[in-house]
């Protein structure tokens, strides 16, 4: 019998052959890898194995996973996790977004989908209680995210109504999709949902684009999967929500007030490609967003009472009609301060544009900001852009983001993401790679989220990114001794939201996990065994790398050079990340996880974590 919380079936879709089959995973695999991020890594290994370094993520052979987890839909804060070999880091990332797609697919009777191959023309996958089918997406290809959602919603609802007209009104399906950036294989493009929610890190939008896969849509009429201890689960559900409802500040403001405070208070907000991290621009305060633009203050996704999301809308002027969320802090920073922009209206426009184009609103804009710094330093010229780019100028960034999504002019190079763009521009300009990489704010190819480490006053510290198997991902940072904050490995594998995890007693969360699955799971077992197993497997992938790059152990387990420059302004002026501390903590982190001094998992560790299948590949790296 399938463990609780799982529908018990996954779909394997071969896009080349238009073949769809159902697969199952053993109870042991589920207990060891849970779902989402963990299970996707295991399935990737089983499909690719030791040939991993040879696999080009954008080759049709490359698997792309869309997985829920056993807690998805049931635990508050439902999300979907996408994964596969990342076209940016060449490791794997569990990249999640909130969307009703996640509960709909489980209600249709499936826990996830693995895509391989490449469709000969654009398609989308429709998943219902009657199975799954590939449908023509020619008419959707080229459309921005917003139009894609509007058209697909109408089309699928009409189709389902046609198939079963007598059951009453059909509620809308859930969906994930890509915009033009994904279609054109912008390497760090996102998979998008609900207009402004994104699986941003990892570049999985380009993976979908490489497969001619425009969207995945689900509508199920079944119940959420049965659980091991339903009465306990119902009680825990109510109690968890009570904790979330008690988080009044988070519910009231979301992260929409942080665009001011992370700069003004903790000096850790990217400004002009991280040349500064402090500002005191009160024009950029939360109330200036809220009072003029928030049209919905309590906006939540399925089974969520944190409702950190708010909807912003521009009602007048040249950007009239732009809809996005607050924007949330990350996009207030990356589509605002990092461009030298401190105007809420311009920030909302550029965030909505990133969403519509299908950029990851963190990663794409990081690359755009990087390009403008190269212009500031005289490395890129007006002629590379076709105009004169300027910090603080919304039109500059509007144009660069479009050029990237459409791969026009310098956009063709920037579409490779910050790290690869740096190497290409070095080659193009006849410069040494170091001269370009010193301005590139990424770790392992993944552009860093909008929380700096130099002030040491935010939640991100010395090795947060340097040691992380997901590089610059601010949602899943490495912490000394692999403790509390490693919770993201759990939430990405159980697949629910970080913001319905922090603020709830961890004992309650793990009691809930046990009531759902029936696995003998505890906080301790997760921290000592399951979590380390998943992270170790991800580390192995990351260090195997290939085919176009290989990360150098320890040397590349580091912060970007900019994080070692002293902060030039603000209350933390002069502070910087301590390299000695990074080196010491990195070794301690490796040791805690049972990796050798170069960060390669030892034979004993692999054996202890039941990862013996990695031994041959790891022995080559040792």
């Amino acid at each position: 019998m399938t463990p609780g919380g799982y529908a018990g079936k996954w779909l394997d879709v071969d896009l080349t052959k238009d073949k769809i089959k159902e697969v199952e995973y053993s109870d042991k695999v589920l207990e060891q890898y849970f779902g989402g991020r963990g299970l996707a890594a295991k399935v990737l290994w089983d499909k690719v194995g030791e040939k991993y370094p040879e696999l080009d993520p954008l080759d049709p052979k490359s698997p792309f996973m869309v997985f829920t987890g056993p807690m998805t839909g049931i635990y508050p804060g439902s999300r979907i996790c996408v994964s596969g070999k990342s076209p940016v880091s060449m490791g794997t990332v569990g990249s999640t977004a909130a969307t009703e797609f996640a509960n709909e697919i489980k209600e249709a009777g499936y826990d996830g989908v693995t895509f391989t191959g490449k469709a000969d023309k654009p398609v989308y996958l429709l998943i219902t209680d009657d199975g799954a089918e590939l449908r023509d997406a020619d008419h959707l290809w080229g459309l921005d995210g917003e139009k894609t959602l509007i058209k697909l919603n109408k089309e699928v609802t009409a189709e389902l109504t046609k198939r079963k007209p007598n059951v009453g009104l059909w509620k809308d399906p859930g969906m994930i999709y890509i915009g033009p950036a994904g279609e054109n294989m912008v390497r760090n493009a996102a998979v998008i949902a609900k207009i402004c929610h994104a699986c941003g890190y990892g570049g999985y939008g380009s993976l979908m684009g490489s497969k001619n896969l425009k969207a995945v849509v689900a509508k199920g009429r079944g119940s959420l999967p049965k659980v091991d201890a339903p009465e306990a689960a119902k009680l825990l559900w109510r109690r968890t929500h009570q904790h979330l409802i008690g988080r009044t500040g988070m519910r009231r403001q979301g992260t929409g007030y942080a665009g001011y405070s992370v700069g003004a208070e903790t000096s850790s907000e990217p400004i002009r490609n991280w040349q500064e991290e402090w500002h005191d621009e009160k024009s950029y305060g939360g109330p200036m967003f809220e009072h003029r633009f928030w049209v919905k203050k309590k906006w939540a996704d399925f089974n969520c009472t944190t409702n950190c999301m708010k909807i912003s809308y521009i009602k007048t002027g040249k950007w009239k009609g732009d809809i996005t969320d607050m924007p949330d802090y990350e996009l207030q920073a990356y589509c605002g301060t990092n461009f030298g922009i401190f105007d809420p209206e311009a920030n909302i426009h550029l965030s909505a544009l990133a969403d519509k184009l299908g950029h990851s609103g963190i990663n794409g804009p990081n690359t755009a900001g990087y390009a403008v710094e190269l212009h500031q330093r005289g490395i890129l010229k007006d002629s590379d852009f076709g105009f004169k780019p300027k910090w603080g100028d919304p039109d500059t960034f509007d144009r660069i983001m479009r050029m990237m999504a459409n791969r026009e002019k310098i956009g063709e190079i920037l579409a490779e993401g910050t790290y690869r763009a740096a190497l290409k521009i070095a080659e193009m300009k006849g410069l040494k790679p170091e001269e370009l990489l010193k301005y590139a704010v990424h770790v392992k190819g993944i552009e860093i989220g909008a929380h700096g480490t130099r002030s040491d006053a935010d939640y991100t510290h010395d090795i947060s990114y340097a040691a992380s198997v997901q590089g610059g991902d601010h949602t899943s940072v490495a912490v000394d001794g692999y403790n509390d904050m490693s919770g993201a490995v759990f939430t990405d594998s159980a697949v629910f939201c970080n913001f319905t995890y922090y603020g709830v007693p961890q004992s309650l969360v793990f009691d809930f996990a046990k009531a759902i699955t029936g696995f003998p799971i505890t906080l301790h077992s997760w921290r000592s065994e399951t979590g380390p197993r998943i992270v170790t497997l991800q580390k192995a992938f990351l260090m195997m790398g290939g085919p176009d790059l290989e990360w150098e152990p320890v040397k590349d387990d580091d912060n970007p050079p900019r994080f070692y420059e002293p902060l030039p302004s603000g209350p933390y002026k002069g502070k910087t990340t301590d390299k000695k501390l990074v080196d010491t903590k990195l070794q301690a982190y490796f040791e805690t996880l049972g990796w050798d001094e170069r960060g390669i998992p030892t034979k004993e560790t692999l054996k202890k974590l039941d990862l013996g299948f990695l031994e041959k590949s790891m022995s080559k790296l040792r």
């Binding site: 509007i150 007598n166 402004c196 559900w237």
Partner: protein, 174 residues
Amino acid sequence: MVKPIWIARDPSACSGCRRCELACSMHHEGWMWPEASRIRVFMPFPGLEVPHLCTQCMDYPCVKACPVDALSTDSIYGAVIVDREKCTGCGDCIKACPGSVPFLHPGDNKATICDLCGGEPECVEVCTEAGYDALTIVNEGPNINRKLYSRDPIDVARDLAVKMFGEKGEEVIE
């Protein structure tokens, strides 16, 4: 004692969390089953979340339309009660309802309608608990206006779209 109540709904206050659907289905089905919930939140465009449920029209067109007398009204609260033995799943009640509120249950294919949980609706309780107040119990006696709430949820969403997004609201639902 006759004590008719009904559930007023305010789509502009609905967060779209769908806890109402979860609470309803846990009460009626024993587990989380959003598609079997008597209250259904439609979302034809993100941000436009419309709670959709029976409003207990004074003239009960659904009850009148049932060809097999499977529908009746609760003598205390005025809810529509479905006799699942008698119901044939013909769908006539859906057609008779001005808002197409009833639906056929995804499990047994019988008409499914809000029964007001015996006077203490679970959906309202969780909505109130979270401070959304998109659902409110109204205790005053029935009046003719109530029926006007029974509208196609997509039409409601179209109105809400214009209220939120102005002219752009005309474009977000095709």
